[in-house]
């Protein structure tokens, strides 16, 4: 599904290299976790995959189903099925959450040459999914993320993900700032979306999330590279020992 090969990325404005030859492959139907110290480049990776401005790819490639992501506009990547749950979801004053969702859903459908969702169909789907995530009707009407608590913002990202039904889901620290119950809601939401045609790249600092969402593979990232990959036990090791030994061992 997602294949990243020897990716080198620097900032466009300054001479600062952030990703330094990162390779990673997530096959269809799998969940991969990415862990790594602060500043190792995890969010940068997620932004580059989603198509944010300000980065220059100097070497390497990133493809989804064999198609190069890096040549596409952000909205084309979204229409192709890529979704990023932001570490810091953005506030859009004056734009209702529902309006935003509906515009997004229909924009993607249109880009894929599909029929737009009828208003009845849309409302039904939103209500159902919002209920699962315990997002109430009032929050659906409020402007996108404005005045939402940290945890509400994260749940809202998962609501968008559920509505857009992407095939490649990248989640950047969705668990940070969630209370125990919210963590369960979000994990249940993600698990419900798991299937043979959908893959996840889950960026996290905590092993706890991975108790709920069982990963197939755990990657350790440091200084712009994947330095070690392994099974779920790798996350346990990080939890217990920190990154020190792991990184030393990887050189």
């Amino acid at each position: 599904m997602l294949k990243i090969d020897n990716l080198h990325v620097k900032l466009e404005e300054e001479d600062k290299q952030i990703l330094k030859g990162l390779s990673l492959e997530v096959p269809a139907g799998q969940v991969h976790a990415v862990m790594g110290p602060n500043g190792s480049g995890k969010s940068t990776l997620s932004y580059v995959l989603a198509g944010r401005d300000g980065y220059a790819v100097t070497e390497g490639s990133a493809t989804m189903d064999g198609e190069s992501l890096l040549d596409m506009e952000p909205e084309q990547r979204a229409a192709a099925g890529l979704f990023l749950a932001f570490q810091y979801p953005v506030e859009i004053p004056g734009v209702g959450n529902m309006t935003f969702l509906r515009t997004a859903v229909n924009a993607q459908r249109k880009a894929r040459g599909e029929e737009e969702m009828s208003s009845g169909e849309f409302l039904k789907a939103v209500r159902e999914k919002a209920k699962d995530l315990q997002i109430d009707a009032e929050m659906l009407k409020r402007p996108v993320n404005v005045g939402f608590s940290g945890g509400e913002k994260k749940r809202n990202e998962i609501l968008q993900m559920a509505m857009l039904a992407p095939r490649m889901c990248i989640m950047d620290e969705t668990d940070s700032g969630l209370d125990v119950d919210a963590m369960r809601l979000v994990s249940d939401g993600v698990n419900a979306l798991r299937g043979p045609d959908r893959s996840f790249l889950v960026i996290t600092h905590y092993q706890r999330l991975l108790n709920h969402i069982q990963p197939d593979v755990v990657h350790i990232m440091s200084d712009g590279r994947i330095v070690k990959s392994g099974g779920p036990e790798l996350a346990l090791q990080v939890e217990e020992e920190g990154y020190g030994d792991l990184l030393a061992e990887a050189g």
Binding site: G51, P89, V90, G94, T99, F100, A104, A107, A137, L164
Partner: protein
């Protein structure tokens, strides 16, 4: 359940926006109807003023009134204090009167109506029955009406073509007709109120309008009457090189209520065109008037060629106690906009509100705002202005809040937000505040911001293209004002916001 409907409708509004954006090229109303016209010769002088008065079948007092204005105008010079830059206007190189030829004989059925005129109405989104009435088809009023009830007066090149739902309005005692008809049929009302809010000599453009106005709408709502439907005027400029001078007069008698909508469009032309309208509103005791405008005159092309020069004087006089007026405007068109819908809060406890969205893209220039003149005690005013600049456009908010000595315990709140798209445009805020008593309070808040890249990226990462993303963010920025509009207009306005910003990014 109510909640559902509410959401549903809101969703509908935004859906409409997105669809419109996607389906449209650039300027939506840029078609031009080839209709045979009758013109008066170019230029303005006393003979032309008499000719216009004569064509409208006006009584002598009206002709005199116009001539008085013309003589005054001949001594005045154009104001130059606004932050607007445009070449000198040659007032003798314009036509001051144009009228579709087909209006001279009344048609018997729609088949007799100039099909191009009908096509025009269709493009304006006017329903069939209303088209018949507007086209002057005899007996059209008896035809069954369609669902929506908005009485329409269509003014085509400054000539009122007809008004719908007249009978039904008449039953409620409401007069809604063209101003030329009002001058003939209701001279006592016109004599009493015309020029009583915007005097003949008010300013250069208003004075010119007083001399040469060709038509416009007239509304009178009698005491205690809540007007049973929204009233609406569509203004359309079609003829080339023709100055457009509409005159609107609205009188809300004691305890009455009316909501009035005004829509404006014009075809694409390489040459600039002058438009100088006057709107006067008289609000008596306990009456309330809502006046909403969606102004979409042709703005000129992306190189600044052509477009309408829009010099408009709009003023409401809350003449008696507890009178209320609310101006809402969405200004997206015109190459030059010079417009300050104002409220004179004369009656004690009277209230004025002004909600404005002004968008200037490419080479457009807008200098717009409001004046709140507090004369009565305990008067209240509220100003919410959203200015959006893109391309190389200049957008100025100019506002005056004046609290006179007698206007004790009065309040004003002003919020003035500017949004910049790109870095070649400009936004300016020029607030004038005068407080001449100690118990009144004036609050002014102003912000200027740029369209946020993170917001745009967030929208795009969810699948919206760049223009859709800008439209959504800008519509959010304008939310407070869009919500003040009647629902039907809100849809059109949202779509317009999107269309007028096309090409402003990337």
């Amino acid at each position: 359940m109510t909640e559902t409907t509410d959401l549903d409708v809101r969703e509908g509004v935004d859906r409409e926006t997105v669809e419109t954006v996607q389906s449209m090229g650039s300027y939506k109303h840029g078609w031009n109807t080839e209709i045979e016209m009758d013109y008066a010769p170019k230029g303005v002088n006393e003979d032309i003023v008499r000719l216009i008065s004569n064509k409208n079948g006006e009584p002598a007092w009206m002709t005199e009134w116009r001539l008085e204005a013309f003589r005054r105008w001949a001594t005045m010079s154009e104001p130059r204090w606004a932050m607007l830059n445009y070449p000198e206007i040659d007032y003798q190189d314009q036509y001051y009167y144009a009228r579709p030829k087909s209006m001279e004989v009344k048609p018997q059925s729609l088949d007799d109506v100039d099909p191009k005129l009908l096509a025009t109405y269709e493009k304006l989104g006017i329903p069939l029955k209303e088209q018949m009435i507007l086209a002057g088809v005899e007996g059209a009023d008896a035809a069954p009406a369609e669902g929506r009830k908005v009485a329409v007066d269509a003014v085509f090149d400054s000539v009122s073509l007809g008004t719908t739902f007249k009978d039904e309005l008449a039953k409620a005692g409401v007069i809604f007709c063209s101003i030329s008809e009002a001058i003939r049929e209701h001279p006592e009302l016109v004599k009493k109120y015309l020029g009583s809010v915007v005097p003949q000599s008010d300013n250069f453009f208003a004075t010119l309008n007083s001399a040469v106005f060709s038509d416009g709408s007239f509304v009178y709502v009698p005491p205690g009457v809540r007007c049973p439907m929204e009233l609406s005027t569509y203004f359309r400029i079609n003829a080339e090189n023709t100055g457009q001078f509409e005159r609107t007069l609205i009188i809300a008698d004691k305890g009455s209520y009316v909501s009035y909508l005004e829509g404006c469009t014009a075809p694409q032309r390489d040459t600039t065109q002058l438009h100088a309208a006057v709107v006067e509103i008289v609000v008596l005791e306990d009456a309330e008037v809502k006046y909403s405008t969606v102004q979409n005159w042709y703005p000129g092309d992306e190189n600044g060629k052509g477009g309408i020069y829009n010099f408009v004087t709009k003023r409401a006089d809350c003449r008696e106690a507890r009178a209320k007026v609310m101006w809402t405007q969405v200004e997206t068109g015109s190459a030059i906009t010079w417009k300050y819908p104002s409220c004179i809060l004369r009656g004690d406890e009277s209230q004025g509100e002004f909600y404005s969205i002004a968008i200037a893209n490419n080479w457009q220039q807008a200098d717009t705002g409001t004046k709140m003149i507090h004369l009565g005690k305990n008067t209240r005013s509220r100003i919410v202005s959203k200015g959006i600049s893109a391309g190389q456009a200049q957008n100025t908010y100019r506002g005056l809040v004046s609290m006179h000595p007698r206007a004790t315990n009065s309040r004003n709140y002003t919020q003035c937000d500017s949004l910049l798209i790109g870095d070649r445009c400009g936004a300016h805020t020029v607030p004038y505040i005068e407080v001449k008593n100690t118990s009144s309070r004036v609050e002014h808040e102003a912000t200027t911001s740029k369209v946020d890249d993170d917001q745009l990226f967030y929208c795009r990462s969810r699948g919206m293209d760049e223009e859709e993303a800008v439209a959504l963010v800008v519509n959010g920025f304008c939310r407070d004002v869009l919500q003040a509009l009647p629902m039907e207009f809100a849809m059109e306005a949202q779509a317009l916001v999107a269309i007028s910003l096309e090409g402003s990014v990337g």
